[in-house]
């Protein structure tokens, strides 16, 4: 197992240069953005002098290199700066909004996996049957319908026409109080607080946006499951297992699916990273106070600290996520960690 431990250690060490690179690039990118934040925040009535004052207050008059080192110094102390549009420290803003996005994305992914993986397996096992065609239909629909459209459709049907869903405004209806903050995930926090009513309310709010996102992520996962499963089922070891008289479920799940899961896990990681960044539209449609809408607002306002904080937070998330995927891959596949040089 020492080779494996070393491989995992190596993998961890690889994340360091990535993080450094992201810090540098996010800094440079935000400076390259058009627009002058000093002008924006001095207000419409400001004259040349007050703009200059704002600029000095923000530290924007110093050379870029100095600005960068000041920024890195602050980062080292865990200070991401203060957002000039919300007036709050960026760290506080992110801590408020990131869980909202994560809760939405994770529940969407869990939902989508629960549907896509069995669907993909069924489509592979009964290739050419109606399940296979249904799978193809869902996959095509899932990718071709943009999320804002499905979101609005769902709102129209389930809120406006049927009245089953609550108004699509945020994470919790205004008549409920936010549960005491532990993880920032309302579903978990409300359960921890022993408050089933709030849990139900949070779930109702979450349902439509999560379904919207799940529909979108269904496609790649179902497709990959189907393809991987087809490949696994046509391999030699499946024939060996069948020739040895193993039961159908053992052949399909013990031998086929476990091997097919390897590429599915990889896809899952990619889909997750992608969705976390791309769910801005869903957040906008459902007035979800997530990190995506926060970033867009900050970007429009040339709010350097907030944008940098967002990019950094996302980069950390991606790196952590890829790490988890790689490590779980190593858990499923014994060959990993020995083959790598």
């Amino acid at each position: 197992m020492t080779g494996r431990t070393r491989a995992i250690g190596m993998r961890l060490a690889q994340t360091v240069p990535v993080i450094i690179g992201v810090i540098v690039i996010s800094f440079i990118l935000t400076r390259a953005l058009p627009g002058d934040p000093a002008v924006y925040f001095a207000g419409a009535m400001a004259d040349e002098q007050s703009i200059q004052q704002v600029r000095e207050a923000l530290g924007l008059d110093k050379p870029l290199v100095t600005q960068f080192f000041l920024y890195v110094g602050d980062l080292a102390q865990g200070d991401l700066g203060r957002s000039i549009s919300t007036g709050q420290p960026v760290l506080t803003d992110l801590a408020m909004r990131l869980p909202a996005s994560l809760e939405l994305t994770l529940s969407a992914l869990v939902l989508s996996c629960l549907i896509a993986i069995p669907l993909g397996v069924l489509a592979a096992v009964r290739q050419g049957s109606w399940v296979d065609h249904l799978c193809r239909l869902l996959v095509t629909a899932g990718v071709s319908l943009p999320t804002f459209f499905t979101g609005i459709m769902l709102v129209y049907i389930f809120y406006y026409l049927l009245g089953w869903a609550p108004s699509p405004l945020g994470r919790l209806d205004f008549i409920y109080l936010e549960p005491p903050r532990v993880t920032g995930f309302f579903l978990i926090d409300s359960l921890l607080a022993g408050d089933p009513e709030t849990f139900a309310a949070a779930l109702r709010q979450l349902a439509l946006p999560a379904i919207t996102l799940a529909l979108f992520t269904l496609a790649p996962i179902a497709r990959m499951t189907r393809a991987a499963m087809l490949q696994a089922l046509s391999s030699d070891y499946i024939r060996t297992a069948r020739a040895a008289g193993l039961s159908r479920s053992k052949v399909l799940f013990g031998y086929g699916l476990r091997n097919a899961l390897l590429p599915v896990v990889t896809t899952l990681g990619m889909v997750f990273s992608f969705v976390l960044g791309a769910n801005v539209l869903v957040e906008k449609v459902f007035a979800w106070p997530g990190i995506g809408s926060y970033a867009v607002e900050a970007l429009v306002a040339s709010d350097y600290a907030a944008v940098q904080g967002f990019v950094l937070a996302m980069a950390f998330l991606f790196v952590t996520l890829n790490l988890i995927i790689d490590l779980s891959y190593a858990l499923i596949d014994p060959r990993i960690g020995f083959d790598t040089k």
Binding site: G3, Q127, S234, S235, D236, Y237, R239, T240, A241, R242, A243, A244, G245, L246, S247, R248, K250, G254, Y255, R258, N259, L262, I332, D333, P334, R335, F338, K341
Partner: protein, 550 residues
């Protein structure tokens, strides 16, 4: 015990129904070993899958009866079939590494079978699996229990596959090309092991193989298949000694074995006299202290450890050894696709080892040293027609263009026995033998002096191998080329080469004239290799009145 009558199997494909097996019948008695022999596409594997009803998708049994111990296997329910598979009839496969689940410990894979058939409980499964491993003579079975297939050699993997197949004491073992892709000595160990186990347990078995020699050595009776039909059955020795059907006769002829000449492999009417072959005296290639070391995870890997040899002009040198002995590394370095760690390669007296492999492509000697690759399919660009493939080296290395280029390509095709209308076909439209011809035509397009052949016939059926080997002999005589023939098959090397180099573990253990090395081997390793080659029951004297041609 097993009785097959009039079995037909067909596959649904895009181009309609394909009849893979057309009404075959055979019986197998208790304790008997039947060999089903045929070339690729003869339907021999499909037959075995049909017996166990594990045909791939699209395959169905069209007609016929399969009875095993009084049970109609065709009518049996899927649940009954599952009980029969593994417990009554087992199967082992070719390519053992792929036949095992890559991400499951081998011990667990054996336990799966034991527990499926109620031969073990959760408590004693481990002990029984370890016993099954010990039964197939795996050293330290308790430690191997926790191994994954990728940690084991091919021979070890095949033993595991056998352990899985025999775990539940079946009465019949079907072995589908069990040793294809394994080294010759491993082949012998695996075959001997399975024969011993089958005898000790009083089992019957069916051996499916393309190798008539192997089948004749290990089977009581043979059934020869061609295009989905059995053309001949009989006692193994009798089939081999006096084949009744012309196809069987052709197969027997094409099986290389001691005492035969190259032309003897061909059908009797195609046996033209073999052109004379006399190596010159001048040295063409001299290799001195060649060393290749690869960086590895656990220290450097010494692939080639300081070997020296000389190849004279016009000589055909066989480089033999088992996988991992360094023969492929040596040939890649000689053809200058790989850089050596140290040592000299003198080509016509000039050292070419110092020219880096990536620059050698622009060296004028590139056209002098060419290669024929092992896998005729994988070494052709699937999007190039045969004509483009053969033209490729000419366009790169010479200034032949237009009508003269076309003429040259057609000349090469004729030389290699490739019908001209096939020149505009793509690799997937050509047969294995035709692809081999394209590969050879490409290699000789620039009139090389030195041709390196890396197991050029390993992937071919024996009858096609016979034709290709003879083609190589003819080309050698026509063009005066020097060959380095890399192979693991000593019988093939014996036919084509004047000089043999035997490698083991990166070193040359023996070299000398073919007859000397083959008939009076001095090194124990060479003796081992020679002893491992399948020995057909009747070592027939040459079946024609022609003397052995070399």
């Amino acid at each position: 015990m097993l009785s097959v009558t009039n079995l037909s199997v067909s596959f649904r494909t895009r181009r309609g129904e394909v009849n893979a097996v057309r009404g075959i019948s055979f019986d197998l008695g208790r304790g008997e070993t039947l060999g089903i022999v045929g070339e690729s596409g003869s339907g021999k594997s499909v037959t075995s899958y049909a017996l166990l009803r594990i045909l791939d998708a699209g395959g169905t049994i069209r007609a016929g009866d399969v009875t095993y111990g009084g049970v109609d296997l065709r009518a049996a329910s899927e649940r009954d079939m599952r009980d029969i598979r593994g417990r009554e009839i087992s199967m082992i496969f070719q390519n053992p590494r792929a036949a095992l689940n890559p991400i499951r410990k081998v011990g667990h894979q054996i336990e799966d079978v034991l527990r499926q058939h109620g031969r073990a409980t959760r408590q004693d499964a481990r002990a029984k699996a370890i016993k099954a491993l010990a039964d197939v003579r795996i050293n330290d079975p308790a430690a191997r229990y926790d191994a994954y297939p990728f940690e084991l050699s091919g021979g070890m993997c095949q033993r595991i596959v056998i352990a899985i197949a025999l775990a539940c004491d079946p009465k019949l073992l079907i072995a589908d090309e069990p040793t294809t892709g394994l080294d010759i000595t491993t082949q012998k160990t695996v075959m001997d092991l399975s024969r011993d186990l089958i005898r000790a347990r009083g089992m019957s078995s069916i051996l499916i193989t393309h190798d008539l020699g192997l089948a004749a050595e290990y089977c009581d009776r043979l059934a020869v298949m061609k295009d989905g039909e059995i053309v001949e059955t009989g006692i193994a020795a009798a089939v081999f000694a006096a084949p009744q059907h012309p196809y069987t006769a052709r197969l027997v002829d094409a099986t290389p074995r001691p005492g035969l000449g190259l032309r003897d492999l061909l059908p009797a009417k195609a046996r033209t006299p073999l052109p004379g072959h006399a190596p010159g005296e001048r040295t063409l290639v001299q290799v001195r202290d060649l060393v290749k070391t690869y960086p590895g995870k656990s220290g450097p890997v010494h692939a080639v450890k300081g070997i020296s040899f000389t190849i004279r002009e016009g000589q055909s040198v066989g480089l033999v050894g088992e996988s991992g002995c360094g023969k492929s590394t040596t040939s890649s370095i000689l053809v200058r696709l790989l850089d050596r760690t140290s040592g000299d390669i003198l080509f016509e007296g000039v050292d070419i080892a110092d020219i880096p492999a990536e620059r050698f492509v622009r060296d004028k000697r590139r056209s002098q040293i060419q290669m024929v690759f092992q896998d005729a399919t994988d070494s052709l660009n699937p999007r190039h027609s045969a004509r483009q493939t053969i033209a490729d080296p000419i366009l790169r290395m010479s200034d032949l263009r237009g009508a003269r280029l076309t003429a040259r390509i057609e000349e090469l095709a004729t030389l290699c026995g490739l019908p001209l209308p096939l020149l505009d076909r793509f690799p997937h439209q050509l047969s294995g033998g035709q692809k081999a011809r394209v590969g050879i035509a490409r290699a000789i397009a620039l009139d090389p002096k030195f041709l390196i052949l890396d197991e050029p016939t390993a992937a071919l059926d024996v009858s096609i191998q016979a034709v290709v080997l003879n083609l190589l002999a003819d080309l050698r005589a026509r063009l005066g080329m020097t060959y380095l023939f890399v192979s693991h098959d000593l019988n093939v090397v014996r036919l084509l080469c004047d000089h043999v180099i035997v490698m083991q573990g990166g070193e040359i253990v023996e070299q000398g004239p073919t007859a000397q090395v083959m008939d009076t081997p001095s090194h124990p390793y060479t003796r081992n290799l020679l002893a491992a080659a399948p020995r057909p029951p009747v070592l027939a004297a040459p079946m024609t009145d022609q003397p052995a041609a070399q």
